[in-house]
């Protein structure tokens, strides 16, 4: 038991939480942005899969991780824009559009891998793992000074470039939402689209922009998956992270920092599961931990929210009575 505890409380464990949190955090921020504009993008999962694939392929073709990263971002945006055309132009229920993109993300990507690379190693083995070498992975960064601090150094320093970007983007997303005119438009469109359109804010354009941004975020998340988290793309590698991001968005009340905290909880759950299986637990028991935590998280969040609302109403009522 003490063995378990000590290995859990190691710096390496906390390091892994941050690493595991990063890809989900990208997707979560994507969810936060579109939800502010009043859209539920459940296609984040599929976008991550598709951009993870193209990221790793482009990195291979160009022999440059940077080109791969760029490609993943662009593909993410393109897919999100295609979704937008269906959702906003052809008035398709956004949830159904998301389901379709997820179908392409799971099965369609294998088709693409096979037909693009002419690999014929059988269905289950289809992946681009053989193509990605460690030079093509997104580089890690040792932060000077901080890396030498005991305990904290090994936890915070030495992550992938994208990990730092993910946490930086939490702040930038907040600035975007609350300090820029795009953010103002976005929130207006989410809250009262008629009000926005009546003053000439193009609701459609704002929604397209929000979707594109969420695609960009999911693209970054996908790139992280295939070019940092793992070596190359493989079947079902995103494994529900896009959906977990939706849950994190809800639990964070749709605010960037709140959603980040929720994401870290999921990161912890997954790191914990991995830790458990590394010390002998059947991986089929540890793997579902993040999914179970997601459900529990949503339930706890719903109960807390309900209590908070009831309390607020009660408090207001009490105040009213007092004033009389």
């Amino acid at each position: 038991m003490s063995n378990v505890l000590s290995s859990i409380l190691s710096a390496e464990f906390f390091f892994s939480i941050i690493r595991i949190t990063s890809p989900i955090l990208f997707a979560t921020l994507g969810a936060v942005i579109v939800e502010k504009a009043g859209i539920s993008n459940i296609g984040l999962e599929g976008i991550m899969m598709i951009s993870a694939l193209f990221g790793s392929l482009c990195a291979y073709w160009s022999s440059s991780w940077f080109v791969g990263l760029l490609a993943a971002m662009i593909v993410g945006v393109i897919v999100a824009l295609i979704m937008s055309v269906f959702a906003f132009q052809l008035k398709t229920d956004i949830i159904l559009v998301g389901i379709a993109i997820n179908m392409i993300g799971s099965g369609g990507t294998i088709f693409l891998v096979k037909s693009i690379t002419n690999m014929t190693e059988g269905e289950a083995l289809s992946s681009t793992t053989s193509l990605i070498t460690s030079e093509l992975q997104i580089p890690t960064v040792q932060i000077p000074l901080i890396q030498n601090i005991p305990v904290i150094g090994p936890i915070i320093s030495g992550h992938s470039l994208l990990t730092y970007l993910a946490f930086l983007l939490v702040f930038l997303t907040w600035v975007l939402l609350y300090k820029t005119s795009l953010g103002l438009n976005l929130r207006s469109v989410g809250e009262n689209p008629n009000a926005a359109s009546s003053v000439g804010v193009s609701v459609t354009r704002v929604r397209y922009t929000a979707m594109a941004l969420s695609g960009l975020m999911a693209g970054l998340g996908g790139a992280f998956m295939s070019m940092s988290y793992a070596m190359g793309w493989s079947l079902n590698m995103v494994a529900g992270r896009g959906f977990i991001a939706l849950a994190a968005q809800a639990m964070g009340s749709g605010e960037p920092f709140g959603a980040m905290l929720a994401t870290i909880v999921f990161g912890f759950a997954q790191a914990f599961g991995i830790k458990l299986s590394s010390i002998g637990l059947d991986s089929n028991l540890s793997s579902p931990i993040p999914y179970i935590i997601t459900i529990i998280g949503l339930v706890v969040f719903a109960i807390v929210k309900r209590k908070r609302d009831a309390k607020r109403v009660a408090a207001v009522g009490a105040k009213q009575r007092k004033e009389k």
Binding site: T92, I99, S106, G108, F111, E123, F243, D282, N284, T294
Partner: protein, 374 residues
């Protein structure tokens, strides 16, 4: 616009959607087709398209074949069930995507009963399949109740449950139920008493499950359009506030719609497992749930149209497999075709310009008629 004109428009719209998806498929086939020059690629694309569109019901010699047809019909069995399950849940506006995990759970539980609970012929199969259905109904209580009581997204919840169910089954297979004498993870063989009997013994594995599926199509349609509960489900899907105001028990019906969806998915799992297999060996989600969603979407959530949509998808699926075998086009093309068809069927405004023209024309006609009467 009259009902007839509406119907005509719907059919035309579906037809165009299918054409578009086949066109996109052709482009993808062209990209991955063999051949050095443009012409070569074009001809091998043409060849592949023949496999996709015509060959599924033909035999090797190019003549119509009953075996090919029964192969397709056999493939429809699980997807009819998941399609029905999705129809019911989506009709209540519940985007529960748990049919995928549900069919796996149903198959697994049915398999356990088929192996470990000996019973007489016939009754064994019924009990096994029902056990599967009940287990999925219980599983769907989770997203159902959480949605009704706490407004937790049934979509996220059911998706997460799919993963949980998959890992739980894998764990139990590995730890308790694997036949250790075999190289791969598989269960002991089912008792013969539990197998779903074959309808035609030609190797297609077209079982009585197909008839059962059709019976459930009729039952589901009756349930949705001829009973108060199905009616309530549909009204809640159209306008939840209206249903509440009318005095319907909204929360209970939301739960019920998902439980019924679970029963249907579970039945599909059991029938498929005990009809097509002799032992349990699924180690990943089978994909029937997602296909069921496509089917429900093509069918417009109308149970009666589910077999038609399921046939269509099974036909294309077989076509894709033939292309994979004979033309080297990856079979997963079906996922892209499905997604594209799905998108265009779900797109409300698809061809809306044309529809608007029809509406204007018929409104003007009505006005003229009215003027004429005066």
């Amino acid at each position: 616009m009259s009902k007839k004109a509406s119907l005509r428009f719907s059919i035309l719209r579906g037809f165009v959607a299918i054409l578009i998806s086949l066109f996109i498929a052709s482009i993808l086939i062209f990209i991955s087709a063999e051949g050095g020059s443009f012409g070569e690629k074009l001809s091998s694309t043409g060849e592949a398209l023949v496999y996709l569109i015509v060959r599924p019901i033909l035999n090797g010699k190019g003549a119509f074949s009953v075996k090919s047809l029964t192969d397709i019909l056999a493939c429809m069995i699980p997807t009819i069930f998941t399609g029905l399950a999705t129809c019911v849940m989506f009709s209540a506006n519940q985007f529960n995507l748990g049919a995928e995990g549900g069919i796996m759970l149903g198959a697994f539980v049915s398999a356990l009963v088929a192996i470990y609970v000996p019973m007489g012929t016939g009754i064994h199969m019924v009990v096994a399949v029902l056990a599967g259905a009940v287990s999925v109904a219980v599983m769907m209580l989770i997203p159902g109740i959480l949605k009704a009581k706490l407004d937790v997204s049934e979509m996220v919840c059911s998706l997460m449950l799919n993963y949980v169910v998959m890992y739980a089954i894998k764990f139990m297979m590995n730890t308790y139920f694997a036949d250790k004498t075999k190289g791969q993870v598989q269960s002991l063989p089912f008792e013969k008493t539990a197998l779903v009997p074959q309808l035609i013994n030609n190797g297609s594995k077209l079982t009585w499950g197909f008839i059962l599926a059709l019976i459930f199509v009729a039952l589901t349609a009756l349930f949705m359009y001829r009973t108060r509960w199905g009616y309530a489900i549909r009204m809640i899907g159209i306008n939840r506030d209206f249903a509440k105001y009318s005095g319907m028990k909204v929360a209970a019906i939301i739960v019920a719609s998902q439980v019924i969806g679970g029963v249907l998915a579970g039945l599909g799992g059991g029938v498929e497992m005990l009809g097509r297999n002799e032992f349990y060996s699924w180690s990943a989600l089978p994909g029937y749930g997602w296909t069921g969603i496509t089917i429900a979407c093509i069918a417009g959530n109308n149970p009666i149209l589910v077999p038609l949509a399921a046939f269509f998808i099974a036909y294309l699926d077989k076509g894709c497999n033939l292309m994979a075998t004979y033309c080297g086009i990856p079979a997963q093309l079906i996922d892209i075709i499905q997604a594209v068809i799905f998108l265009f069927f779900a797109a409300e405004q698809f061809l809306s310009g044309y529809r608007q023209k029809l509406v204007v024309r018929s409104a003007q006609q009505e006005l003229r008629e009215k003027e004429g009467q005066k």
